[in-house]
């Protein structure tokens, strides 16, 4: 029984490691400038975690195999070095390993949060609401018109609560249900929530940020690859949570310009 158990543990450990090694399931291809650091961080952690995982499971199995069902005469022994050795090991190995991780991790994090967007970064506003994202481009005047929550009316598609009749800046604002950005141009994302907490999760862009009702948050990123990607909500926001997503089109500059023109006509 014990030997069978030991074998089972080893088999399970190896089977679970195989998809990781063969990279069967993996994060989708990174299209951001800051994402590489995160991916490196992930793979390093994967190595260390994987080794610790396999090592401890296999040693556990080995000891179970070796030290079960021993005959009566045999006396119990203690692990050479005793507790002190193991504690030291834990502190040195794990301590160092883990802190190395932590330190390197800071870089990847700082890339995103402790840097300022370039002055010419393109501003895009995103509003999350049950259960859709809507985006706003400032239009030719480069200014976002003020928001009037009391004017929000989804039935006639006044999603942001704009008042073009009284606010000149709002006249040329472009509201869309799909996000498009030019490739290789930094984007400054202005985030606010209409109702409850949501999250702005773009795996391909390595961007993940919650919307906090009552707070205006900012993100900035640069997409490096043309294509159509998905933005999903990862913060439970109600019954439509699973269906709260929007498409992100990364376009060449000219495609983007024409897209924006087309959207302007549809306002």
């Amino acid at each position: 029984m014990a030997k069978l158990f030991a074998v089972t543990i080893v088999v399970i450990a190896i089977l679970s490691a195989i998809p990781i090694v063969r990279n069967t399931w993996h994060p989708m291809e990174d299209i951001s400038t800051h994402g590489q650091a995160i991916d490196d961080q992930l793979s390093e952690t994967m190595w260390e975690a994987g080794i610790s995982f396999l090592a401890s499971q296999i040693i556990l199995a080995w000891f179970i195999w070796r030290f079960s069902g021993t005959k009566l005469g045999e006396k119990t022994k203690n692990f050479p070095g005793g507790a002190a050795g193991l504690v030291a090991a834990a502190f040195i190995l794990v301590g160092l390993e883990v802190f190395a991780l932590g330190i390197f991790g800071v870089k990847a994090w700082a890339n995103i949060y402790f840097t300022q967007p370039a002055a010419n970064a393109m501003p895009v506003q995103v509003q999350s609401g049950q259960f859709a994202f809507y985006f706003r481009y400032p239009g030719p005047d480069g200014k976002f018109g003020p928001l009037h929550p009391d004017l929000i009316n989804e039935a006639n598609q006044n999603i942001f609560g704009l008042d073009p009749d009284h606010d000149p800046e709002s006249k040329d604002d472009i509201v869309t249900a799909e996000m498009a950005i030019p490739v290789n141009r930094e984007v400054r994302l202005l985030m606010h929530a209409k109702d409850v907490s949501h999250s702005f999760y773009v795996p391909a862009l390595r961007i993940h940020q919650d919307f906090v009702p009552g707070l205006d948050l900012q993100l900035h990123f640069t997409a490096t690859k043309v294509g159509r990607y998905e933005i999903v909500c990862s913060q439970l926001c109600g019954l439509g949570h699973y269906n709260m997503r929007a498409y992100l089109s990364v376009l060449s500059q000219e495609d983007f310009d024409s897209w924006l023109k087309k959207q302007a006509t549809l306002q």
Binding site: F131, A155, Q157, I159, T176, L239, A246, Y247
Partner: protein, 250 residues
């Protein structure tokens, strides 16, 4: 002896019961079938340029976006059809109706197709049953929002693809109940619950209110953006009355 008396009493009682029931029924039948019903017809028009209807981007729900690939849909707050006819206007008898609350016995459908409500505006009698149908491959959420505290109660149910229709009705009249889908924020429609017969204007703006007995009525036309208009009509036995409404674009 005692038994006898009891028996007689029962007999008398049951006889009385039967008679009274019969009388009620006869009364009802009189009420239910007024002499020589007639109808009111007419058209609703819009004067001036209708407000701009924004297009709806359904890219979030590809299944629905596909439905409208050919002809993109817009909001339906003001739908003007051929020669200025105003669509989706509910015309009903706001005064003068003396018949039963539920004059119409059909069970209309409130269909969710291509992430739109079809019809966009639905007339209903009090207690008239209607079916909510989901013919999209995606889940919808039906959330009618009557006035809080009123006799009609707000509800909020989801209807996954392939789920059977929801059959329900409204217990009291209310003009109008706004219906939203919480999963698809652009989905919006109205249920107009009235006493007695009603008509809803079509693309050409023409409507027909059937089953109106002769008499004097106040006719009301309700439109989701422009509100209500009323006018008096007199319906003579046999020949249909006509009434036209004209809304002014703000």
């Amino acid at each position: 002896m005692k038994k006898q008396l009891l028996f007689k009493a029962m007999l008398a009682l049951s006889a009385a019961l039967i008679l009274s029931v019969a009388w009620m029924v006869s009364q009802r039948s009189v009420k239910a079938a007024p002499p020589s019903e007639s109808s009111i017809t007419g058209t609703v028009k819009l004067e001036g340029t209708p407000p701009h209807q924004r297009p709806i981007d359904m890219s979030k729900e590809p299944a629905c976006a596909a439905v409208h690939k050919a002809n993109p849909v817009t909001t339906e707050n003001v739908v003007v059809g051929t020669d200025g006819g105003l669509k989706n206007v509910v015309v009903y008898l706001s005064e003068g109706w003396s018949g039963p609350e539920t004059a119409v016995s059909s069970t209309p459908n409130w269909e969710q197709h291509g992430c739109q409500y079809i019809p966009h505006v639905m007339g209903l009698d009090v207690n008239e049953h209607f079916k909510v149908i989901n013919s999209d491959p995606t889940s919808h959420n039906i959330h009618p929002m009557p006035k809080p505290g009123g006799p009609n109660h707000e509800w909020n149910k989801s209807q996954p693809a392939g789920a059977p229709p929801i059959d329900t009705s409204w217990p009291a009249e209310e003009v109008a109940i706004h219906v939203k889908c919480n999963i698809h924020p652009w989905m919006s429609g109205y249920m107009v619950v009235v006493k007695g017969p009603y008509g809803v204007s079509d693309d050409s703006g023409s409507f027909k209110v059937d089953g109106v007995p002769p008499g004097n009525y106040t006719l009301t036309a309700w439109q989701e953006t422009y509100g209500a208009q009323t006018q008096k009509v007199t319906v003579a036995a046999g020949k249909p009355a006509t009434a036209n409404f004209t809304f002014k674009a703000k």
